[in-house]
Subunit: 243 residues, 2 copies
């Protein structure tokens, strides 16, 4: 009888031990799964570095000596180079929703992705896309699809979605002024939930800015939320003018 009870106890202990063995493994798996997802914050101004090597084919970049372009800039990592790396990781699709886009380096990175067969779509603001130095004309010339707003409110987003998997968003307009001189932030997040929400926003805007809907001789401008009555409508207690 004692022998029997002993065996029962041993079997129970084995079962529990198995459970305890499995549990840390599951926890580790869950944690490692979360750790693999990219979560990065870039702060600007970025150190001014040469980003030429990033824009070359891998074999060309490997063969090139540091400072081969003779630009005299450091060839180290910087916030700009990290942002470019995140973009250049695209293999299938890239959605850009940018208020201002005039950085030549980022413009070349986007053109390179287009040349590699990545499906690039750009949404931008109509007031800023025609300014001197804007990359938008060059992107269009290269065959990249670009759509823009037609109303008084700004298309003020500054985000990108890489391969429907990584969201890049923050305060940074893609201009050299902002990259080199401003206090800015950019989050790089591999996060399904955020990517889904921003992708939905992109598709909403993409559809709304469809050129078939453009009005070429508008009679009266309306805000995109349809509130044409009051641009600065506030509650009764507002006593301040807005800038």
């Amino acid at each position: 009888m004692w022998r029997l009870r002993g065996r029962v106890a041993v079997a129970t202990a084995v079962g529990l031990a198995l459970a305890l063995e499995v549990l840390p493994w599951v926890l580790r798996w869950l944690r490692s799964g979360r750790r693999r997802l990219r979560r990065e914050v870039l702060f600007f101004p970025s150190q001014v570095t040469c980003t030429e090597a990033l824009l070359k084919a891998p074999d060309e970049a490997a063969a090139a000596l540091p400072n081969c372009c003779g630009c005299g800039l450091p060839h180290s990592e910087s916030s700009l180079s990290r942002l470019m790396r995140a973009l250049l990781a695209a293999r299938v699709s890239l959605e850009l929703c940018l208020f201002a886009f005039s950085s030549p380096q980022l413009g070349r990175a986007v053109q390179l992705l287009h040349q590699r067969g990545v499906r690039v779509r750009v949404v931008t603001d109509c007031d800023y896309m025609a300014l001197n130095g804007s990359q938008i004309g060059l992107l269009r010339k290269a065959g990249i699809q670009v759509r823009h707003d037609q109303d008084l409110g700004y298309m003020h987003h500054k985000f990108a979605i890489v391969d429907r998997r990584v969201l890049i968003t923050g305060s940074l307009n893609w201009t050299t002024q902002a990259i080199q001189n401003n206090r800015e932030n950019v989050l790089i997040m591999e996060d399904n939930e955020y990517v889904r929400l921003f992708l939905e926003e992109f598709e909403r805007i993409w559809e709304e800015f469809n050129p078939t809907k453009y009005i070429f001789f508008p009679q009266k401008k309306k805000s995109h939320s349809g509130r044409s009555l009051s641009w600065h409508r506030t509650c009764c207690t507002s006593s301040q003018n807005e800038t």
Copy 2:
């Protein structure tokens, strides 16, 4: 013998069943822990709603009838009201790092928090704080600590940190124009990692913008990264002017 083996098998099965019972509970616990952390995205333009009730004491707000202020605006939830709720949840501290701040509603929310004893600190951009409609003067008048930059690059961040626990960041400048008319995004994230990084950035800027370091009669302006030689220094391949 068969009876004995049967009992051993039963005991093993009980052990495994226990393990299987524990596992989903652990998984549920892990998931619920992650769900409790706030993760929200607000998109703008916001519907124009009355936010008066949010700025009243809870008993006043409860006693007030909808539309009591007679403003004629809907009293429903909107992106602006959600943003205000996230701010008004502060009990201990609020760090604001804002390029432009002219929204009267958000200004009143910040003043209310200051009156409630929340430690409010504001960092802003010197070019925009003196514009007509800016809330910065009113915040200073109310006794809130404000610091600003002194250089050519913009302090272009648009983030807030509530109780060192929740990060609010995105493309939105806190102006009525942006809230009511622009395409904007704001992320509200209860996330230790992001909060820590943005808090470090805030403290860096707070220290750098210490008034004891202001130069009242500057001889030559420098960028905050110390690169006074070239504001738009780019690599050798840049052929475009910047806006």
